[in-house]
Amino acid sequence: MNILEIKDVTKRYADHLALDNISLTINEGDVYGLLGPNGAGKTTLIRMINHITMPDHGNILFKGEKLRREMIQNIGYLPEERGLYPKMKVGEQAIYLAQLKGLDRKEALKRLKIWFEKFDITAWWNKKVNELSKGMQQKVQFICTVIHEPDLLILDEPFSGFDPINQQMLQDEITHFKEQGKTIIFSTHQMHAAENICDKMALINQSRKVLDGNINEIKSNYKTNRYQIQYRSEQEINFSHIDGIEVIDSSHKEGTFFLTVSSKTKEKLKYVLDEIFANGLLMKYEEIIPSVHEIFIKCVSENH
């Protein structure tokens, strides 16, 4: 079942088109990557999902119904530009933000206690926010994003500003949410980060959706049938007699040969490998799968 459906959404600001006829479907339990360079329109789209701005055309459906203001209480949003009141005490602030999300004071206090212990920041409860390190503040902010246990979590560049340890912690939490069946939208311009976490993704460039779908499917669609081969041998092996095989690149170093070959079918590649088994030692054999980054660049340049 889809939790969020974006239908033909267009948003125009006075002097530029922020989103041009975008449609996306996000299913319950997805970890969905919203990818694109800075200024592509990701933040505008996220703000619409959060009911902060309205689309000029098109609809946004949440759990099959037209998105209304009160549904936002079921969404947790961690904006890219994070901030807390610097002079407010950490605990007080967390309670305030939790109350704004509709929790009563008692319940907020109970849940915050658990989270603060989990993240090991209980000692900071009565400290002012501006006495905290950046990483601490990020933790507090993350807690405030999930405190109302939303079904949909939107994380805008969640890893920026986190040190590797906290990044891992955050990643674990995301996995944990996924296990609970929550849906996560993950917006970033760092393609490789998305690649590791997301099952599905959409690429947005210059206000338009360039492509979307399951990451693995997208990747296999963009496969170029190229393989990387590495072998050891007394002398270079000749593959020119095998039909349908093209050696794109080759080099060698101290008796190790590096090859990039293009093959239309798997069968033809078998001949190459047989040749290597007969005359040398195969060390590495791997299909070249394009990274999301490469796919993105390819899509963008094709679009122009």
Partner: protein, 426 residues
């Protein structure tokens, strides 16, 4: 709790609990009392030594007319002392001045006062009134003797008239009341000035708050739970409540002090002219504190809401304090014009400048508040108040539009044209 009341609560409590708020709330009345009472205290209690006057009287009829007082000590001297005083400096400390009453004073009507230094103006005033009174009396006696009409002396006494001005204002219902224009203008000025200070202080507090939220990017988080309009109104109302709290504290402090003063210190010990005190007390009775007080609160609310909401809009539109300058200009100018007009209005509170100033909503909170103690026609009050309410709704409506667009906009150079676009398209 609804989001708007949560915002209100946070805005209010975070400010009222601040040390600076408590400090300012306590310090301002202390400063105000000090600034007004210290000069008064000094005036009443300063023990300046009496001015010593040597009197050389050459007119035999004018014996013992000079009576020494607390401030002036008269001593009768001889011609030798006088010439010694003038020719040497030995007697300089003995007498501050030498008064010579000439023999022909009846015809010349002048006497000579010589001193080494400038005398307090009260001295010559005292001498003049003593001499004038005595000489008039001599002249009257001479006339009485000359004409020898029975009862003439009494008739002359009857001509001495002291004019007293009893000011009165007639209210619309024909009732006559004593007027106290001095008190009215003093109170009017203070009230008008207070509104001016409040608008600036609380208006910029609102602007600071909005700018802080935008700068820290807290607003990005808050805005997902609270509508921008609710956030704006929660903030403005919260800060206005801070202002009202402050006013309330001051009023109760004033009440306590007044009570304490009236029960522990008698008027005589203050050595203030009883007449003035009763006049002030009566004046406040006539001025109807409740009427003035509630209008003051109304115009305080109107003024802070109008200027505060527009300042909030500015705070939301700009990225940093420096950029806010150009937008603040159109708001500070009417405020400064109002405060300049205030002095004029106090001199003639019912002329056309005063009337227009108290109807135009940019200046009415200051000008009208200042005019209230003088008595303002009901139609003017109603016109002014309704225009203020309409204008306040308009301002909040415009401010909310600018606010909701501006608060999430970063890194863009904003000008008036851009803001106009926001108002039109959002």
């Amino acid at each position: 709790m609804s989001p708007i009341s949560l915002v209100f609560k946070r805005e209010y409590l975070s400010r009222v609990k601040k040390k600076s708020f408590i400090l300012v709330t306590i310090l301002i009345p202390i400063l105000a009392i000090a600034m007004t009472s210290i000069p008064a205290y000094l005036m009443v209690n300063s023990e300046s030594p009496a001015t010593k006057i040597g009197v050389l009287n050459n007119k035999s009829e004018l014996q013992h007319i000079f009576k020494s007082t607390k401030d002036i000590k008269y001593t009768y001297i001889t011609e030798e002392v006088r010439s010694a005083y003038l020719e040497t400096t030995e007697l300089k400390d003995e007498y501050d001045a030498i008064l010579v009453v000439p023999e022909d004073i009846l015809t010349t009507s002048s006497a000579k006062l010589t001193s080494y230094k400038l005398l307090p103006f009260t001295v010559s005033e005292n001498i003049r009134s003593n001499l004038s009174g005595a000489i008039s009396q001599i002249k009257v006696d001479q006339l009485v003797d000359k004409y020898n009409i029975p009862g003439l002396e009494q008739e002359f006494k009857g001509t001495r008239t002291r004019i007293k001005i009893n000011e009165q204002v007639v209210s619309d219902d024909g009732e006559q009341k004593d007027s106290f224009s001095g008190i009215a203008s003093g109170l009017g000025y203070v009230l008008g000035f207070m509104i001016y200070i409040f608008i600036f202080a609380y208006g910029s507090m609102i602007m600071q708050g909005v700018m802080e939220e935008k700068k820290n990017r807290v607003v990005e988080v808050i805005i997902t739970s609270v509508k921008p309009f609710h956030l704006l109104m929660g903030k403005i109302i919260g800060i206005i409540a801070v202002g009202l709290t402050q006013l309330l504290i001051w009023l109760s402090l004033f009440g306590i002090i007044q009570l304490a003063v009236s029960t522990t210190i008698s008027m005589e010990s203050l050595q203030i002219n009883n007449d003035i005190m009763t006049k002030i007390a009566n004046g406040f009775d006539v001025l109807n504190i409740w009427y003035i007080g509630s209008l003051f609160v109304f115009y305080f609310l109107g003024g802070v809401l109008i200027y505060g909401s527009l300042m909030a809009a500015i705070g939301a539109a700009v990225d940093n304090a420096e950029d806010s300058q150009q937008f603040m200009m159109p708001l500070t100018i009417p405020l400064i014009i109002s405060i300049i007009l205030l002095t004029l209005v106090m001199q003639s509170p019912h002329n056309s400048v005063a009337v227009w100033g108290s109807i135009i909503p940019f200046s009415s909170p200051i000008i009208m508040t200042a005019r209230i103690p003088f008595g303002v026609p009901v139609w003017q009050l109603i016109t002014s108040m309704s225009i203020l309410i309409i204008f306040f709704i308009l301002c909040v409506w415009i401010a909310a539009k600018i606010y909701s667009t501006g608060i999430l906009m970063y890194g863009k150079k904003i000008n008036f044209k851009e803001i106009w676009k926001w108002i039109r398209y959002s």
